[in-house]
């Protein structure tokens, strides 16, 4: 009934498919992102305009479907990052995705993955940390970012806080099952931009007492900076 495409089939692993298989995967990414991974296969099938049995036919199981979704978004991230190497774009992959409205479903999928944990979440998180660390290292070299006693830990801290606050914002302010992620991202960045820039530019404390006390505590002598 819905054979809308006559693209050549490659028996083992069709790279480029606009077939029902791709529609199901797209519907799955959208549903997973909007409603979380608990969403029934029936809902995904309905959204793709196919029967639940066809989902199993193509992906074997719900877990297989999710694996396919993971792989798909992972490849997207790789391509985005490949671009950013040549463009010297100084944003994390998440920010680049969030900047493009049509990619909103993927951002939703990312956030759900982070919420649920698992392999893809790990991989994406490490990419995020890496992006931030590179960004900060470049800034350090250019003199716009302060050096850290532990740059890796700082990058991890910032990544955790960044993604985590987005998650918190989502669950606090958009509890419903149907979510417009463009709106979420807009409201979120609107609320965090000022405090982020304030704290990153000016700090939070007026003196270094707590930092120095901690450095003494862990046995690292406090430094003598301006």
């Amino acid at each position: 009934m819905l054979n809308m495409c006559s693209a050549p089939r490659r028996p083992p692993e069709p790279e480029e498919d606009l077939t029902a298989r791709a529609r199901i995967r797209g519907a799955a990414i959208a549903c997973f992102g909007q409603k979380g991974f608990g969403v029934p296969v029936r809902t995904i099938a309905e959204r793709a305009g196919v029967s639940p049995a066809l989902v199993m036919h193509h992906f074997g199981s719900k877990a297989g479907l999710r694996r396919a979704c993971d792989e798909h978004v992972r490849n997207l991230v790789y391509e985005i990052k490949k671009d950013s190497v040549t463009t010297a774009d100084q944003r994390t992959f998440l920010d680049r995705f969030a900047g493009m409205d049509e990619y909103a479903p993927y951002v939703a999928y990312f956030v759900r993955s982070f919420q649920a944990g698992g392999d893809i979440a790990h991989a994406l998180f490490e990419h995020m940390v890496e992006d931030i660390e590179n960004y900060l290292a470049a800034g350090e070299e250019a003199g716009t970012v302060r050096p850290s006693r532990d740059p890796a830990a700082r990058a991890r801290f910032l990544a955790m806080g960044h993604i985590g606050s987005l998650q918190m914002f989502l669950t606090m302010h958009f509890p419903g099952p149907d979510i417009d992620f463009r709106e979420v991202m807009r409201a979120w960045s609107e609320r965090i931009t000022l405090p982020t820039l304030e704290i990153y530019s000016e700090g939070l404390f007026t003196n270094r007492a707590m930092l120095d006390a901690y450095l003494l505590y862990v046995g690292d002598p406090p430094e003598e900076e301006s």
Copy 2:
């Protein structure tokens, strides 16, 4: 078989119960915290040493049980905060709970609630924001904390990042179903303390270019501080 208690019964709403009802609620808080709210009623009943039917008898439904748990932890938070008013304790309720090992199950329950959203998460989050805002206002008055152009937004930002990063840390590093929350909190604070203090004490950027650009963009003139 297990009538271990002869405390006086108050027909309508027993305030102080060491009965099976209380055991079920305790088991529920522990299970919800350790394994999330998807945990079957059977598991909770087993842990409390009762039948699943008794859970329904006492709480009506699984949702009713969760409501009772919410109310219980909410009351605990109220008491903690009442204490902290008289003690002038400068920590958020979450930090105070986390400081007491025997309260670890409650911290786990908090984090799960934040993950799942809902009324109690909202309430706890607002408490958290309030705690932080008071803490910062006091610091501001004492001269240890910098003033902000929007103290409320800053407190929300910090609360979201704080709780969010704990959540991220949990799902990234402790994916298993059985979680020792004391260990989680220990590892988490070990990793974030240095970068937190660095950024809060020294900032992240060496100059105010981005902040000033933003202030101009939103129509607020950048200030002339040192």
